[in-house]
Symmetry: C2
């Protein structure tokens, strides 16, 4: 085959593979998240990657996110961009599901954003949501789940920052601007971490179109100054709550939100969730329009630049799109790939290269049935066993293979070992060899 006819083995731009070392770590991470969710009684769910655009809402002009939308036959379809909208479809389509319905889901989502460092167009999320509960215990449980999940992943330095959309929904009344501008103002506040207070003020003031083509907010000096007062509230949690109560006195929607935050704080304190791991943060708004109550974000203290790794909130109206009735819900989503990238960057992840604990070499092909039987016995004893299947005919090459794969033991059976009914067990770590009976070798490998 000449070069012209050869295909380039190229990935699409913005997409990635998980090669084994990264994938072993990712699988362990996902399993731990899953176990944590199950310890709270969440149940697994799986939905398709492809959905009707009408169901996802991507057929609407006002849909701002870039997605993979196309025609398949006579249907307008989109690759899912999150796991929450599909959940709302499932709940609506299956009214027999007992509520509250606590479900977790792990899967890929697709967004056609311009790729940046650490951001991909296909990435995995792990979501946990409680559907059909308006209890503040549910909101607290989601925060406790976030805390427990990260602890179980061996992460200690993180802050779960929360706020309440109801407090923010009082901003128009408090700062005297048009109610219709609320969503756009909140999206601007959400950028505080990225663009700083000056950047936020500029956007609030701006009269020109933004990057989404919306009119500039053009808030008055007075409105902006009141918003800045709000953003600059500082102090302990107790002090913050006190200040908020003064600021939003008489704005009933905000008062309701402040009350919810107080209860969450009371619960977290009672549960002794360490103070360094959570904080009321008034700048958290969460860009997505569907949140209606408490909202959550999580920053890794040692890797803040990666952004929030675990986010969510209460969405009481999302399911109403289908059912017409309100089904109050709250949940959060781990950015699995982003979290993994952060842990890799911080060097927190133990690199595991191999699944096999022993490699059986094949020097004398005539012994291959015996070698396969030995592998069969080892596996039955619970030892992950690989038989050497490559091109190297000699022992040296096969041992180098085991070393590269970081397989801790090598078994050698040649004519001589076979004759005396034993095998040679080489420990790659201790660099020693012993002539042993099969069962004694198995014991050593199992106990290592």
């Amino acid at each position: 085959m000449d070069n012209k006819t050869r295909l380039k083995p190229e990935l699409l731009g913005g997409f990635r593979d998980y090669l084994p070392v990264a994938m072993i770590a990712r699988q362990e991470m996902v399993l731990k998240i899953r176990e944590t969710c199950e310890s709270f009684g969440f149940l697994p769910l799986e939905t398709p990657g492809l959905e009707r655009s009408s169901v996802l809402g991507t057929d609407k002009d006002e849909f701002k996110m870039q997605v993979y939308r196309f025609r398949a036959g006579d249907q307008d379809v989109t690759l899912r961009f999150d796991l929450t909208v599909p959940l709302s479809r499932v709940v609506s389509a299956n009214p027999e599901l007992i509520k509250p319905f606590k479900r977790y889901q792990f899967g890929s989502v697709w967004r056609k954003e311009s790729p940046q460092a650490g951001r991909y167009r296909e990435f995995a999320q792990f979501d946990a949501d409680i559907v059909g509960s308006d209890s503040i215990i549910a909101d607290t449980e989601i925060i406790v789940l976030m805390f427990k999940t990260l602890k179980n992943l061996g992460i200690d330095n993180f802050v779960i920052r929360f706020n309440d959309r109801k407090i923010l929904n009082g901003l128009p009344a408090y700062a005297s601007f048009d109610q219709g501008k609320t969503d756009q103002v909140l999206r601007t506040l959400d950028k505080l971490d990225k663009i700083g207070q000056d950047g936020v003020v500029n956007e609030l003031k701006s009269k020109s179109h933004n990057e989404l083509g919306e009119d500039g907010l053009a808030l008055t000096e007075r409105s902006i100054s009141k918003i800045v007062d709000f953003l600059n509230l500082k102090g302990s949690t107790q002090e913050l709550i006190g200040e908020l109560k003064k600021l939003f006195c008489g704005v009933s929607v905000s008062e309701e939100g402040i009350g919810e935050c107080e209860k969450i704080i009371e619960n977290l304190e009672y549960l002794s969730i360490p103070r360094e791991n959570w904080r009321l943060d008034l700048s958290i708004a969460r860009g997505l329009g569907y949140y209606t109550g408490p909202v959550f974000e999580t920053t890794l203290t040692d890797c803040p630049e990666i952004g929030s790794v675990f986010s969510g909130g209460r969405f009481d109206d999302l399911i109403t799109r289908f059912t017409g009735e309100k089904i109050p819900s709250v949940g959060a989503s781990v950015g699995v790939d982003r979290l993994l990238a952060a842990l890799e960057k911080m060097g927190t992840i133990e690199k595991k290269v191999s699944t096999a604990k022993v490699l059986i070499t094949v020097i004398d092909q005539s012994l291959s049935p015996k070698i396969m039987r030995l592998a069969q016995n080892f596996r039955a004893a619970g030892i992950n066993t690989e038989i050497y299947l490559g091109k190297e005919k000699g022992l040296k090459g096969q041992i180098i293979y085991a070393a590269k794969r970081e397989i801790p033991f090598v078994v050698i059976i040649g004519e001589e070992e076979d004759r005396v009914g034993k095998l040679k067990l080489k420990s790659m770590v201790e660099r020693k060899e012993d002539l042993l009976l099969e069962k004694d070798a198995a014991k050593i490998i199992l106990n290592s």
Copy 2:
């Protein structure tokens, strides 16, 4: 919201959700397959759902499978239709991967076929492949892996049927037809299970276009009669091998294939893989063009109508498309959804409805911090614990919830229990209640 503006929560036709009961079973199945693969030393890999059409080969006119292909910006993309072609891309793009490269991968694939009972347009596969080995041990290991996987899933009644494409590649020489017709003849033989011998003969004879628009095969009476002789070979494995040797005497490619089968048979017998679980079956051809050596299919004896649940073969040339060099490979793929459907149909699967072992009721809202702390303690002790978060205010309604969810224990804490520092533990199975200290309740739940 009126009916007009309400959205229909509809899935796309040919797509499905996995609701919790099915999903719990599916996850357990996938974990067992994964553990079996790891016991052979296979390593995990993950690739994107979306690939360049040129990489998947779906941009070619001769590509016959219906797939989801579309334009994304200036790129021609396709949702992957299997996990083998992406594997070949990964191996080509990452020459540093140590070979042999034994990888497993679990994931969705998409095919735009007309949906039938038990067949979906998005379905999950679990693949295991050995890349970079031409050893017959590798082929044997794949069959042993298939055997072990099904046994570990609790399935006893199955037959792994195998054949060798090299034997079949000798058919033009043996039955005197044009070499160029081989692929089409093999695809016809592959339908033997479905259309019977008469159907096969008709297709071999036919002069009209087939459903793919190809010219009819129009084989001569003599060619067809020789193929029928071949298909009708019967007898024990030893007798079959003997007959094959006579039939294909002098057809060197077939002789090579017969030799490979002999070795596989010898290995399986030496490893005491039960005779009822495997069989040399000359009608197995595997539709896909890329197989070059041994090919495998697996039928469930108690549910043959569902077709093959675990299939594969040797594909020595697939990676050549990218690299120009031959990288001999062999592997197999579990149709996870199809296998699960079969087990459900056969009633082999134990239905698990819940992940929680205990439900803590919430009757007195003022006790909710204490209830959350109790949940925290139970979870720390390894007990999956759910707090009741729904609308039912009374005990009866909350116990009915636990019963519906099949949660085996219910904890009740009211004012009185709280005063004496105890809790009421209700066993839903034994239908009895005890007033206990927290730690004693935890013990009972853990030991149940």
